[in-house]
Symmetry: D2
Subunit: 336 residues, 4 copies
């Protein structure tokens, strides 16, 4: 690590990888040193725009000697191997969620990560959204008294391609996993999971035995109840809301509007333009803040970056939700 | 006055008269004893619905001996005479605004009213609207610090018939007068008036040299500034807002919605149905509260009913606004 | 029945009985003919205020010969008997919910009610709330496309006395039952029920093995998912919201405010006074509309009054929720 | 001009100059080539952060031969001279408002600017705010019918230092000038001006015979009325609102919130954190968009950059407002 800059290697230059590349380039404490993608065009495009040397071999990244941190935004099935290589190479890693779709693979890696001092952070970007972070801090500060009910609404604008649905691991592991982590962000001690789903509009979901509409109820050891409401579509735009209900009040996180302008006519009043389209807009600030926090971790400063254990816990909850929805039972979980 | 009930005589059974009749009938402290209207059908319809004896002569009302209060909702040109008769007959009167369109007639009556102990109240119903009354009380309690700017927005849903415009006394005496009273409700010490108007859409206004769109700025001795924004039409429904800006904050009175339901689609989000149509809905509660307060006055209890002096002050301001708009000058006023 | 007025007998003059008495007295199509309550003081107070003869014996009400309809607002355990007597006496009945806490008793009465032509309506007043009714009509009209998810939030301001909790039948039969009926109002074909509850703050709930906090998920044959969020307290006032999510948009029913005034200061902006305290204010209009609709039913006109079958269905769902929450299983239901 | 980049010289590195420097550096079509400030430290700090060579003499900037555009963000009294030098040097200029506080100086420069083909743009940044621009475009598209009334509310968070007030030219030339330009953005054909002001809370204003609170009413040839409401303080944060009222509806621009989180408790509901503090946050996007548009102008593409004539017109209106407020008369203006 140079005195000033954390030198990043970026692995994976898809949609999210490009977001990370831009944030690294814009961050006064970071530099994009290396870029790797098996699709070389992607790596070259990113390097041209945001700096860094294109590695033709993945190995180069880990053995170059001038990498302070690796950012893993490659496809999910590669995450476990890449985290392992980062740990072996003694390079802190920020890995996109989920760690893997298969808990067995996660658990196989777990002892090594836990035994190592190398920091591994998971990309649960929503924790870094200013609104969710503020709501959680205010709950923690006791502003609304003991937290009794938490409601998370999360709806994507439109279903992914059917081909993606087939390899996604299902709605709970692919989409709900973000909300499950958000649930744990507010309520860590989940003890059981109920989930139910329907395939109401998306042929891809029907085709692959998946759901496009889901409802999850989590119960905490403390008795706090959490509800997650998911849909794979939303006519009005990306729907990302949260409501924390406590003994002395309620904190609500509203959707992000796209305009300060509203219109009133003979037909309707105070109508605003639709919400932001999707997560790249909605969580642009969160991705940047996530990087800031990870840089603290790399530098050995106190950091709230989500951990490997957080990544595992979200997957355990997603697996439980999947099983609950299929078998129609309540599934106990042990997150410790 | 009976032990329990204030016995009312209602004079004038038009649209507002019918509102007052219903409120008197529903008020546990009032009875509709007499009803008079030169158009006998109107009087009979009201008496049939809300009780009371129809007086065939106006004189009967004042000499019957069993009237505790008179409610004057007849046409404006009759108000001065009816107030005078009520005072002469020693019967408290609640008179619809304005006292008259001609300040000279008001001033001719003034000494008698001021010399008399008979209560005369003016029907500035908006003072009794829960929202405006609450905002004013909170300003008075110092919640927002010293009041520096007051903005009143008041737009009717649609222009009156051209025939009415011709006898209305003009927009300032007919429509703005309510807002001028509201201005004084918050800021009594007005010292000068600027007004400007346009005739943008209403042929009736154009035809009679009146305005359908107006803007008034009042200045108080204290330096507080008041703005009144008027229009004779409003596509979205009756527009009745107020904003009190003080050194420590702002109190805003929003429009009254007609539904708790909002809709969000791909076209727009959080759209609500149009506002209430007009004053009979918007101020239904205010008319009832106005009656309650007048009954206190009749009974000799402390009451905040607007006075004859309030009625005169509003007319002085309306006259000043009219002159300002025509002559394009700032008009000083003396309301004391 | 007189030509003009439906003559009502009111049985039960508690809090809700008094609301019904006032609405009957104020309804142009109804008269309060008889009032009965085993606590005679209650009956006399109501009769004095709203008219009607006090019946010293319940039998008088059913045999008087001048009763067109009976309104049953006595304690729950009396409902089954009173409905039966009304049916036997050929007098249409509007009965407060629930029919009974014991489904066996309801099912014992069911054949008689179904075999009879005497109308029996259930007091699910929220169906008549202008906002919920409008939202449902707009969903039915297809404004938001197929209904996919329905979220109902319902929180009382404060827990009932512990003594009441003990005889309430539990939160699902006592409180959630309204929301279960609202769920069926939008989504009739419920096929299974999941519920979970916690006792987080109310000693009464803890003492009686009940919950003060609950979450219910219903699944319809169509795949539509319904969530009900309940709490026995709410610092900000009565919390009554609904969100209908469809393929083309969302309809939201907001809480009813108590004022049009908001305040903005250095501490916070656009803050409004707390919501209405409880159901008597929030649903005042709904109770009156419920009566209007029942009068149609009495007169043989088309009516959307909730039926005995609706009352039974809500109880079946409440029983299923109770069992689900205790046994931690998903409970299939057959509402036909 | 290089093929890719417009090479900028920045003159003046105060608060706004730093904003422009950052935007130039971040703009893919621009480069910061030169930086000048008589206070050399400021110039060096900007150049170090955002690139560019520090010019020790102003002359260097105009004669270097490698400057495609000059951005003038030096103190107001220097603007006229710098614009003239830019025109003489054939270099397009974007100059902060106002052109000058003295209309005579502006008019002296006017013929040269009008005779020249060198583009001169004025920094009325609010025209580029997404919300105001959208509202204006929607008005222009006829969405609300003919524009009848325009209300602009503009309140700064806190008064400037008394020393600044003394050289500011007064509230109308210093602060209202932005709103006067916004008025012309929607309603170009202003024909007369009424203004009034008070000094209610700011000792600096009192000391220099200035106002801290002002109200302006503009009338257009078309009869459209415009109101501007100003205050030099606002407890709730920067208050920047606009309402365009037309024959078929209303478009409203709301204040920009600082958080999506609201809180409801027993004291108040739906309370949000205060608004943004001031213009640097509120108009961050507008400054960047202003630069984009000016770059189009520099490149000879169609551009909506405000012109020298716009700058002059705003000053004419500000002068008229100042005279109106002092002399208490309506002041006719000729903006052509």
């Amino acid at each position: 690590m140079t005195a000033d800059h954390v030198r990043f290697a970026l692995i994976g230059t898809g949609r999210i990888g490009q977001v990370h590349a831009a944030n690294i380039a814009a961050n006064p404490d970071a530099t994009l040193a290396w870029v790797y993608d098996p699709i070389a065009e992607g790596a070259h495009a990113v390097a041209q725009r945001h700096g860094g040397v294109v590695a033709s071999e993945l190995e180069t990244v880990f053995s170059s000697g001038d990498v302070d941190a690796v950012l893993i935004s490659s496809p999910t099935p590669t995450h476990v191997d890449l985290i392992e290589r980062a740990v072996d190479a003694d390079i802190p890693a920020l890995c996109e969620k989920p760690i893997d779709l298969d808990l067995a693979r996660v658990d196989a890696l777990r002892p090594k990560v836990e035994a190592s001092a190398v920091p591994v952070a998971l990309g649960f970007n929503r924790r870094f959204d200013a609104a969710f972070a503020s709501a959680r801090a205010r709950v923690a500060a006791g502003e609304i008294g003991p937290l009794e009910q938490l409601s998370i609404i999360s709806r994507d604008p439109a279903p992914p391609p059917a081909s993606y649905v087939g390899v996604s691991g299902g709605i709970f592991r692919d989409m709900t996993i973000h909300d499950l982590d958000m649930a744990r962000f507010f309520v860590p001690d989940i003890v059981d999971v109920f989930a139910t789903g329907s395939a109401l509009f998306d042929d891809g979901a029907r085709e692959h035995g998946d759901f496009d509409t889901a409802q999850v109820v989590l119960r905490a050891a403390s008795g706090t109840l959490v509800t997650i409401t998911n849909s794979r579509h939303s006519a009005m735009g990306y729907d990302q809301r949260l409501e924390a209900f406590g003994g002395r009040g309620v904190l609500q996180v509203a959707n992000a509007g796209t305009s300060l302008v509203s219109v009133s006519t003979a037909d309707s009043v105070e109508a605003k333009p639709p919400y932001q389209d999707f997560f790249l807009e909605r969580y642009a600030g969160a991705y940047a803040a996530e990087l800031d926090e990870f840089i603290k971790l790399v530098r050995g400063a106190p950091s709230t970056s989500p951990t490997f254990a957080d990544g595992r816990a979200a997957l355990v909850l997603a697996d439980a939700a999947q099983r609950s929805a299929i078998e129609r039972v309540v599934v106990p979980v042990n997150l410790s």
